[in-house]
């Protein structure tokens, strides 16, 4: 995925992979039933950060493979999350230069919109294959993701600077 890029890009492929693995772990951490509705979309958020910071290394291909794993975790049809995450990665690629200029609060708003798009796509497609409820509570994760974004941003930026991933 991303560990194959040559030296000038600045190494750290394993670090990026590691953050995604942590994201995958967090997204299947067992939570009490009611809080489960508010589970932030870790993988999507981490993906947005890396695409924004390193658009030449992490892109739609990475998003696709991540999505496949997320599909297996969520037990959805194979390719559902892959498609929605690829679209998110594409949108972030379009926006990444503006996103970098934004203050963190504004970034969080954009993250809310992006994760919201992800949720909408996922549940829209999920509804073709099964019941998905009739209220908008499935959009709650995008709000929580936006609230958590500043902290995640600081942590991931710290990791990126610490390991000089470019």
């Amino acid at each position: 995925m991303n560990s194959g890029s040559p030296a000038p890009a600045g190494g750290g492929g394993f670090i990026i992979l590691g953050t995604f693995l942590v994201g995958l772990m967090l997204s299947q951490m067992p939570l009490p039933y009611l809080i489960e509705w508010a589970r932030p979309e870790w993988v999507a958020m981490i993906l947005i950060y890396w695409v924004m910071a390193l658009p030449h290394r992490v892109g739609m291909g990475t998003a696709f493979f991540l999505g496949l794993f997320l599909d297996v975790i969520k037990g959805s049809v194979l390719g559902l999350n892959a498609l929605s995450l690829t679209i998110i990665a594409f949108l972030t690629l379009l926006l990444h230069q503006r996103l970098r200029m934004f203050p963190v609060i504004q970034q969080a708003l954009m993250v809310m919109v992006l994760v919201g798009i992800n949720q909408l796509l996922f549940h829209w497609m999920q509804s073709f294959t099964g019941y998905t409820g009739d209220n908008l509570i499935f959009l709650l994760p995008c709000l929580i993701s936006a609230l958590l974004w500043p902290w995640l941003f600081v942590v991931l930026r710290g990791i990126r600077r610490l390991f000089r991933i470019r």
Binding site: L21, L24, M25, S27, Q28, M29, P30, L31, Y33, E36, W37, R39, L68, F69, V72, I73, K74, G75, S76, V77, L78, G79, L80, L83, H123, M125, Q126, T129, G130, Y131, T132, G133, F138
Partner: protein, 261 residues
Amino acid sequence: MAADLYSAKVQESRAYLSLLLTPLQWIVDVPSRVAGEVSDVVVDRSLLLKENAKLKAEALQLERKVQQNAALWLENERLRSLLSGAERVDEEVRLVELIGVNPDPFQHQVIINKGSENLVRLGQPILDAGGVMGQVTEMSHYTSRVMLITDARHALPVEINRNGFRTIALGKGELGELELDHVPDTADIVKGDLVITSGLGGRFPRGYPVAIVSDVIRDPGQQFARVRVMPTALLDKSRHLLLVDMPEELNEAVIPNEVSE
């Protein structure tokens, strides 16, 4: 995506993908495992004594029931042979452990620590101490996914224990609630009735408790009565589950296309 819905090959690659994810699932499960160990170590002595006493009393009660059961079992066999009915087969159970829960709250699925390498089969029923939990819907090599009976896509053939009235229990996508389907207004169901599996359809063994009737709404304006029932299994709490090994020929008769793939 369409390929996943319609082809068995993709199902196989899915199993391999989840094999890659199995270590992650184990890691995620570690905290709760450790918490369990720690609470085992630092538990209060008086609490243990109390629990011990309670368990002893419970064991005594159960033993008494078993004593009666043996006699009843033989009597049942004799009566059955008098009626020249088919012999009742006893199912074997295996202990399995829950290692994960599906993070998507719309799907009521749990992950157990046995897979196709441990000879788990598709459609095998899962029980816990309280009653029926669900059935295996997807297998990887060392883990498999169990759809709970409360999942909105699940339906389970049941009967009322008191009078043998047969119906179907539908999941509603809400934890702790099922609904009985197409119950006529005149059906003899009252609050507190025990609902057990009817064994029709062949996937679930007969006679295991499923739920207790919590609410019967008879609305003259509606065609059917609305019967809400509460699962007896602790769907969101049980960690040690029982995997039922149904008799082989029965299983294959019911799901030939899925088994043959």
